[in-house]
């Protein structure tokens, strides 16, 4: 296939940036990484990018395609090239560019190290054997364990763009990896650490990290799990936690969010008084409902019943989110299978059923 790319080149020595065009022939199965290799080998040896495993596990080749982070080795080019699209390739965002598509990852690693990302065993030393834990309990951190630290989430993080000190989605997901581990003893200490100014509650919930993660770690969900765990442990001094708590109280009592009470409940009375003039202005323009009578949902009973169902299940903190994730993954394979899912593994057009040599091959095949 004929592939065309535009690549943002950056020369560290001169500080010059330039968008350069490349056109070349590539095998149909080529990924973006294969294409960059062709450019480097045959067109311009000075093109710089990181690579290693080319199978989505080492995390080296995070970069941007048309402004969104991708793993180059996961990105197949056939459809893009056949559509005649010329993608723009550039270095990841939110990290300093070193050369071409290579960024300085040290700020990323420094934030990771700051999470104290190692197990603090919270059990008596069992000696020469394993510590027994159920698979179900370990599954809590399954998604967070998938992280390959490629930086794609950090590249796309909107909160980081405005607050460079934000711990960021990758580091927080790593934090959840330990907070959710039933063997770890430092849960409360970690949650206190992660609830500070640039932690859990600084996330703006834009979900860009979740959308761009190439491994299904779902970093925003990991941050939500940390938030839920923090509140479960009573670590809710942050305005973000108070804000979330008020949503629950409000929904439970009147079925709807009582916005006028949200400000005092989140930011406190003093701030609310300071904001009074602004609030009055909003009220005059009809932007906020009057505080009295309270905003009550028509089916308030239904809202309470929902709340009670969730409570009765006894699934609190991160487990509530994990439970939902499991339900989603159970239906996910139907999406992944596409047309194959429709016909099933042995339907018309499928590869025949296997048989052992010597066994009579019947119309249905032989299930050995």
């Amino acid at each position: 296939m004929q592939v065309a790319l535009k690549i943002w080149r950056y020369d560290a020595a001169t500080g010059q940036k330039a968008l350069k065009d490349y056109e070349f022939d590539a095998p149909d199965e080529a990924t973006l990484l294969d294409c960059l290799d062709i450019v480097k080998d045959r067109i311009d040896g000075s093109l710089a990018f990181r690579k290693s495993c080319r199978m989505m596990i080492c995390g080296s080749c995070g970069m941007r395609m048309d402004g969104g982070a991708v793993l180059a080795c996961k990105t197949r080019m056939y459809e893009i090239a056949e559509a005649g699209h010329i993608p723009v390739i550039s270095a990841m965002g939110n990290l300093p560019v070193v050369k071409d598509l290579v960024v300085d990852m040290e700020p990323f690693w420094a934030k990771l190290r700051a999470m104290k990302p190692w197990l603090e065993p919270g059990y008596a030393d069992p000696g020469e054997t394993e510590h027994v834990v159920s698979q179900q309990a370990m599954s809590t951190v399954h998604k967070e364990s998938l992280c390959i630290q490629c930086g794609c989430c950090v590249s796309e993080c909107n909160a980081l763009e405005s607050s460079p000190d934000f711990m960021g989605p990758a580091a927080l997901a790593k934090g959840m990896r330990f907070v959710g581990d039933p063997r770890d003893a430092a849960t409360v200490e970690r949650l206190e650490d992660y609830s500070t100014e640039h932690g859990i509650w600084e996330c703006t919930r834009c979900y860009f990290c979740q959308e761009r993660c190439p491994k299904g770690v779902d970093p925003r969900d990991a941050i939500a799990k940390l938030g839920a765990e923090a509140m479960r442990h009573g670590i809710d001094r942050d305005m973000g936690a108070k804000h979330a708590n008020w949503f629950v109280v409000s929904a439970k009592t009147t079925g709807w969010l009582r916005e006028t009470e949200l400000v005092p409940k989140t930011q406190g009375i003093v701030t609310s008084i300071k904001q009074m003039k602004f609030a009055m202005g909003l009220a005059v323009k009809g932007k906020v409902p009057p505080p009295f009578p309270p905003h009550v949902a028509a089916n308030q009973k239904e809202a309470r019943a929902l709340y009670d169902i969730v409570k009765e299940q006894g699934v609190s903190g991160a487990q509530g989110i994990v439970q939902a994730e499991k339900a989603l993954s159970r239906i996910e394979h139907h999406e992944g299978g596409g047309a194959a899912a429709e016909r099933g593994p042995y339907g018309p057009g499928s590869f025949p059923k296997p048989y052992l040599p010597g066994e009579q091959e019947t119309e249905e095949g032989v299930a050995p």
């Binding site: 560290a12 581990d181 992944g336 299978g337 596409g338 899912a341």
Partner: protein
Amino acid sequence: MRAAVEAHDAGADVAIVSKLHPTRSHSGAAEGGINAALGNAAEDSPEMHAFDTVKGSDYLGDQDAIEIFTAEAPGDIYQLEHWGCVFSRDADGKLAQRPFGAAGSPRTVFAADITGHVLLHVLYEQTMKRMVQGSLQVYEEYFAWQLVVNDGRCQGVVCWDLLNGGVKVIGAKTVILATGGAGRLYRATTNAYACTGDGMAMALRAGVPLKDMEFMQFHPTTMYPSGILITEGCRGEGGYLLNKDGERFMAKYAPNALELASRDVVSRSETTEIEEGRGINGSVLLDLRHLGAEKILTRLPGSRELAMTYAGVDPIYDPIPVRPGAHYHMGGVETDNWGATELPGLYAAGEVACVSVHGANRLGGNSLMETITFGRRSGKAAAEWALSENPPVNVPESVLHDAEGELKKLLGRSKGERPWQIRDELGSSMLENFGVFRREEKMLAQLEIVDGLRERYPKVVVEDKGDVFNSDLTQAIELGYLLDVAACMLQAGIARKESRGAHARPYDYPARDDENFLKHSSTRWAGDGPELSYKEVRMTKWEPTERKY
């Protein structure tokens, strides 16, 4: 990292030098698991593990090393668990174990099908813990290029600093090589771009012998055309191998073990099916459909993701096209049971080393375990050596000067061919002439090809002349490593006139010849090429017998 953590905890001043960030290592791509006789799933013992390993090695493995390996493996697994490794669990909450090829008991501990990934990350966590304490340093994206040998011992490494440019010399009382394999010798390989035989070539050039270099393992289930690995765990969980008719052909070659015969046997069977016209597009099929969605999603999610991304196949509904691909080098830098090489101060562990635990054919699940057990042992031994009475590090100034001169020469050249042509020719011809089945005339032809490429290599051109992230330079150097390693492999392969493990010569020497070849090959660099000799296999209690699965 396992060696570094051990040496650090033994009180040594330690630095990790890596051409990649540590979590980018190709150990992370290991999928199926790690073998230790815990006996959680069925009766097992280190002795059974040792016997399976000896038999799998086609009796070329050193039995004393194998006995140490299997005896110490369980303790190492428990250590990893206490460090936080997220292994999969059985119904009782103990570490789950799955069956693997040529194993007499289900002894492969795993984390779904991302075992290498979780091991790599738990080791990096332990590394970070020591980094934060300020007592362990990591020089990442430092490309180790030459060993410093002075006063008859290894005293450090010469590196190229990728991010900032410039030659950096790191002096050290001991150096442990942990640079992995050389799968990039082959066009179809499971290995990362980084697996270019760096440590093997560096040791060779420092006068240290390599052992059993003719033995390259071909993994039976790598995807067409990328060569990307699909784990043996797929067959461990019950997957079938089918030819184009849907026949489970392994029944013809290994009537008892079927799909779970050893890797050399399965790769040969697949190649025979393909060569005899019962393949599909040069591949056979790995069929997981009967396992069902639930098992595939919980036990083999990574393989499914790989198949969907690179083969366009969802294994819940369709079989995956697979074929043998270069996977693992049984040979490597010759070491003793503590990882020490012949050169004082130089140690090696993992795929770069040859202890030898794997002999002529490695069992699936034994390589991750080897990196841990012998990583730990070499770390301990190297620390003891470094902390014992020996003279301080002495690196002559000429080392830096000479290295800079050499690079200047390489970078100064602007007319000639680009390295990729040589690399591509090497990869294609090695696959064609030194693959699963080997013929005398093809091996001789390949030797000539490699000699020709080695003549062309000194004239290659590096286009990037800059200091910052000059991977054009490092890739050119890596190609030189590959060419040296290829020359060693061919010489040893031609000389081994028998079929043993991964070295199969069905056309002229179809049988194993214990009388003449129950011995390790040993290769040294002499002048401008490899020089071959032989060494005894260390036996303890298992006499060679016929090998059947």
